[in-house]
Amino acid sequence: MTIYSLYIINKAGGLIYQNDVNPGLSRLTANEYLVLAGTLHGVFAIASKLTPTALKVSTPSSISGVHNSATSSITSSSIGGGTNSSNNINSNSTILSNYSKGALNVVSNSNTSGLRSVDTKFFSIHIFQTLTGLKFLLVTSPNGLNSNDGINNTGSNVDLNKNSEFAESVLRRIYSIYSDYVMKNPFYSMDMPIRVDLFDQKVTELIKTLS
């Protein structure tokens, strides 16, 4: 799995950090990034409201069973295309909402009922939310999920599981870096865009050790 970029969204839905750590995605305009962040923030909130119905279906009890038993998917023809203007991927895009209440031993990721990942044929987005409402997003290479046979294919679900666990561990480490180099910096104002050299450096170092 290649990590393309990292986004941080504050609790109001504003994009405060965007860093393309590895080449591979086409650039958007600054405004488009802001819209993307705001949209994801909104979709995330709405997705979490879908939860109760999904929970009626089943309550997964083991980590390995999460994606198989409690994954509900929404196939969408517009969202994937809207995020990437240069590639025509309107068709075959899948959005996954993984409802995993009580299943994963979610520690600092408070995201239990919201959108956890967005998958398209060309990339995946993984979302990690803190108790304080910050969202850390990773855009990565696709989860290996071929949307034609989709989530019914057990093999790709194992990959998906592994990938999202990996993404979450990366995001958790980024959160830790954030707490050191952004929070302990007196020149950073809360909720504002992050322009902190050391944070950039440490994030880049981390991503390098992973690839």
């Binding site: 180099y181 910096n185 007196p186 050299d197």
Partner: protein, 228 residues
């Protein structure tokens, strides 16, 4: 009738007795029955041993406190120079007192440094170890001028999480540590000006050089005393 009642004019309001030396009364011994509010405390600070090592406190706590201190200082400062000067003065107060404490803790092995190089080595090793847990990374003499020395720290403990924005021209928040050094040097009778400068090196973006510029008198004294 106690001595106090005799000396004080009748118009004066009775004040609480305080043990210690009163310029108009001389030493005051309180009756043993008297207990001041402070003395009634279960533990008195004088009962603490100064030799006891304080329990370690998380580096995060220190970093947050330092960060908040800089933030607050910055809000009340006009420009980088004033901010640095203020941080320096905070450190100066620490340094002044710190020399006393460290020499006291060293006990019998403590000695008063009389030569420039020796006092600098003392700061480079003992002081740095006590404050930051390890000796500084370098001690150099300036090649350009006689009165300048440099102590080098590759990754200053206090500021390791802090990146200074570019529009804060040349600010180095280790002005605080520079102030500590200056306070120590001054109370050791080596009057000097100390400033902190960022000089990044490969792999050490926060490498900081503490430039110590001694007063002319210090150099003269050294020359007279140790020339022969």
């Amino acid at each position: 009738m106690s001595s106090q009642n005799i000396i004080n004019p009748s118009t004066s309001k009775p004040t609480g007795l305080k043990a210690g030396y009163n310029p108009s009364l001389g030493p005051i011994q309180l009756p043993s029955s008297y207990q001041s509010q402070i003395a009634s405390k279960s533990r008195n600070i004088y009962d603490h041993s100064v030799f006891r090592r304080t329990p370690e406190v998380n580096l995060s706590s220190l970093s947050f406190l330092f960060s908040a201190m800089i933030e607050q200082t910055q809000q009340t400062s006009k420009g980088v120079q004033q901010l640095e000067a203020k941080l320096n003065s905070y450190g100066y107060g620490v340094g002044n007192k710190f020399l006393e404490l460290i020499t006291l803790r060293e006990g019998k092995s403590a000695k008063r440094e009389t030569r420039i190089v020796e006092v600098l080595q003392f700061i480079h090793s003992q002081v740095w170890k006590t404050l930051f847990g390890r000796p500084a990374d370098g001690l150099e003499k300036s090649q350009d001028s006689e009165d300048e020395y440099m102590i080098i720290d590759n990754l200053p403990l206090m500021s390791q999480f802090i990146s200074v924005p570019k529009d804060f021209n040349q600010l180095n928040v280790n002005a605080f540590t520079a102030g500590i050094i200056e306070g120590i040097l001054d109370s050791a009778y080596f009057q000097a000006n100390v400033s902190a400068h960022t000089m990044a090196a490969d792999g050490y973006p926060l490498r900081t050089v503490f430039l110590i510029k001694f007063d002319h008198g210090v150099l003269e004294r050294e020359a007279i005393r140790f020339s022969r």
